[in-house]
Symmetry: C2
Subunit: 76 residues, 2 copies
């Protein structure tokens, strides 16, 4: 599912999620497993292809051990 353009917010989310996950030194699959999310779906999130819902944003933020609002801050 190649859902590129629409919003930029999901791209911000995507880069942030990826950055925080890598900072924790985890692979996509390991992290996805940890938060009980499908690995292919989670990969799509990091690619900005998925229009993630709040409940899943919460799961991801919890898994990363950070406050959810950090995932929506513009890259610096």
């Amino acid at each position: 599912m190649k859902r590129t353009h629409p919003g930029l917010l999901r791209n911000i989310l995507a880069t942030n999620v990826r950055r925080f996950r890598m900072a924790r030194g985890l692979s996509q699959q390991d992290f996805a497993l940890e938060i009980e999310m499908d690995r292919t779906y989670y990969g799509g999130v990091e690619r900005g292809e998925r229009n993630v819902s709040v409940d899943n944003i919460e799961r991801i933020a919890n898994g990363l051990g950070i406050s959810p609002d950090l995932l929506f801050r513009e890259a610096d």
Copy 2:
């Protein structure tokens, strides 16, 4: 649709959205109209009944004229 649910992030979002909208002195219907969203759907968001996705969060934040991450900050 009574989706009185699990996640609390959804409720944080709900209260924040409502607070910012009221701060702008707008009714749900007027605001919903402004961002081209169905009034009953938007109402459900403010009630924390809807598991909103990123694209819609973006639309709401844009309509409120604020940075999306403000919608995810814990109430003080």
